[in-house]
């Protein structure tokens, strides 16, 4: 009996698992609820509206998102006859899980006791994990067997090809500057935040994340006025909610990564011993930085329309990709000069 409990405890306290549960699921849920609320509220302010209001005006409508969540959870999940059932159901679930997975491998503290995995190649692992989930959006579109879904899925595929390289190159430029794939080393090396040393790479990464998570002006796969809801046209209820949430989860994962790489991670705090000082406080700082980043992401909705697909791709390849290359070159130069 004691053996089983030990086993369960060891699974729970296995670092990647609790990081995934604590930061990846609980943290992400709280942050995503806050961010969706913030996005709706900020957009509403720019657009001279009230935004969420009637559910608890005192909290400025914050519980509206919880209400929406409950609504999604209890809505009927309609599975049309013509869809490929297994893939149709699995795709959003797998996409959501995978989009949060990068959090399981990033360090949120410099204290080795709380590292989820050995950190030597953590940057590569995290970046690799970010590239898995979009496949399942295409799968969702394909499995729906609906023209709009397929068009949306194909658009998603096009957009992936455009942003992935940019995102990876611009975030990897930090590795080039520090000459290490170790995220902890990258964070510790930032006496000055890397965003100040290499704003070009940051801008490229910012745009790539916007593209990755269907933020305006790159909200192309789901653009409502052409393809209804893109890959999610046939979805309803909780599965639809998962699909919508997946984009925000992914944005959260990317934001954590960007907070570590560009915004100095847990600085100015120096993690110490014990769970409070060694893990909770630094991880809160990282999450707070990621949240601020996400708040900036969500402001684009109120200012821009959406690009046309070919314009977005053209912009990505002609403008942002050279920017990412330039950022990478700048990083190499900095490494050569020993700035970082």
């Amino acid at each position: 009996m004691a053996g089983i409990i030990d086993l369960i405890l060891s699974i729970i306290f296995y670092p990647p698992i609790y990081q995934l549960v604590l930061v990846g699921l609980t943290g992400a849920l709280v942050v995503v609820i806050f961010i969706i609320w913030f996005e709706r509220k900020a957009t509403a302010r720019v657009q001279r509206r009230l935004g969420p209001y009637h559910i608890s005006p005192r909290l400025a409508g914050l519980p509206q998102l919880v209400a929406d969540l409950i609504r999604y959870a209890f809505q009927e999940v309609i599975i049309p006859k013509t869809v490929d059932k297994e893939l149709f159901v699995l795709a959003p679930i797998v996409a959501t899980v995978l989009s949060i997975l990068p959090i399981a491998v990033v360090p949120l503290t410099s204290n080795p006791a709380y590292w989820p995995i050995p950190m030597d190649y953590s940057m590569l692992v995290a970046l690799a994990l970010t590239t898995v989930s979009p496949i399942f959006l295409i799968v969702a579109g394909w499995a729906s067997n609906n023209k709009f879904s397929i068009i949306g899925g194909v658009r998603e595929a096009f957009v992936i090809t455009a942003y992935e390289l940019i995102a990876i190159m611009s975030i990897l430029s930090a590795s080039a500057a520090v000459l290490s794939f170790n995220l902890v080393e990258i964070v510790e090396a930032q006496r000055v935040w890397y965003i100040l040393l290499n704003p070009i790479a940051f801008l490229a990464a910012f745009l790539a994340v916007l593209m990755a998570t269907s933020g305006f002006p790159f909200e192309i796969p789901e653009s409502e006025n052409e393809v209804v809801a893109g890959p999610f046209t046939e979805y309803s209820g909780l599965l639809y909610g998962l699909n919508m949430g997946a984009a925000y989860m992914k944005r959260f994962a990317f934001s954590i990564l960007m907070a570590l790489v560009f915004l100095g991670g847990w600085s100015p705090y120096t993690p110490g011993e014990g769970i409070l000082s060694g893990y909770l406080i630094p991880s809160l700082i990282v999450v707070a930085k990621a949240t601020v980043l996400m708040m900036i992401f969500s402001l684009t909705r109120s200012i821009y329309g959406r690009f046309r697909l070919d314009q977005a791709l053209e912009g990505a390849w002609r403008l942002v990709f050279p920017m990412a290359v330039l950022g990478f070159g700048l990083a190499l130069l900095e490494a050569y000069l020993g700035v970082m």
Binding site: A42, V46, R48, R49, L299, S302, I303
Partner: protein, 183 residues
């Protein structure tokens, strides 16, 4: 002075920083409204607009002025107004007499106000409110008894009356109705 056509050119967009300036302008405007949204949303059940007396709301009959001429029923474009016959005592002779009375069916009424304008004795008048909910269709077909008194205005009991004033800075400004009336 008749109008004249003027050929215009689209504003040119050349130069290295044209796109940059456009982005900065758009973001500046966005942030300006993020700080000061200048909104004038009506939080409806808690507030309601106290409309001007000229507003074409529900139509009510003043039976004392009605001369039973049927003009209102004839001009109604939606056939909402119709005349009903009713036996009434003639006040002079004391004998029962057939009289025509208008009644209105709010299922059909489009609030064009023709009937009010055509009434030769101003027996019909509009009340400046519009937001009355009926539970079923039959209730909307008013009888003469309902037609002769202004309908209840439920929002007025709960909500705060506000008025909108055209403003140079904000477009419209929402103010308490009492403040406007004081001026």
């Amino acid at each position: 002075m008749p109008a004249k056509p003027v050929v215009k050119r689209l504003p040119a967009r050349r130069g290295l920083f044209a796109g940059f300036k456009g982005n900065v302008d758009a973001i500046t405007i966005g942030l300006k409204y993020l700080v000061d949204p200048k909104r004038f949303t009506l939080i409806y059940p808690n507030e309601y607009i106290k409309l001007d007396p000229g507003y074409r709301g529900f139509i009510v009959l003043d039976p004392k002025k009605c001369i039973h001429c049927s003009s209102c029923a004839r001009i109604c474009p939606a056939a909402a107004m119709r005349m009903i016959k009713r036996m009434e005592e003639d006040p002079k002779t004391g004998k029962p007499k057939m009289k025509l009375w208008p009644v209105i069916n709010y299922q059909r009424c489009i609030f064009c106000g023709y009937c009010v304008d055509v009434c030769p004795t101003e027996a019909l008048y509009t009340v400046p409110y519009h937001d009355i909910v009926y539970e079923n269709m039959a209730e909307m077909d008013w009888s003469l008894e309902t037609f002769v008194k202004p309908p209840e205005h439920p929002t007025a009991k709960e909500g705060i009356p506000v008025k909108y004033i055209v403003d140079e800075e904000k477009g419209l400004v929402k103010v308490r109705a009492e403040e406007v009336e004081e001026k």
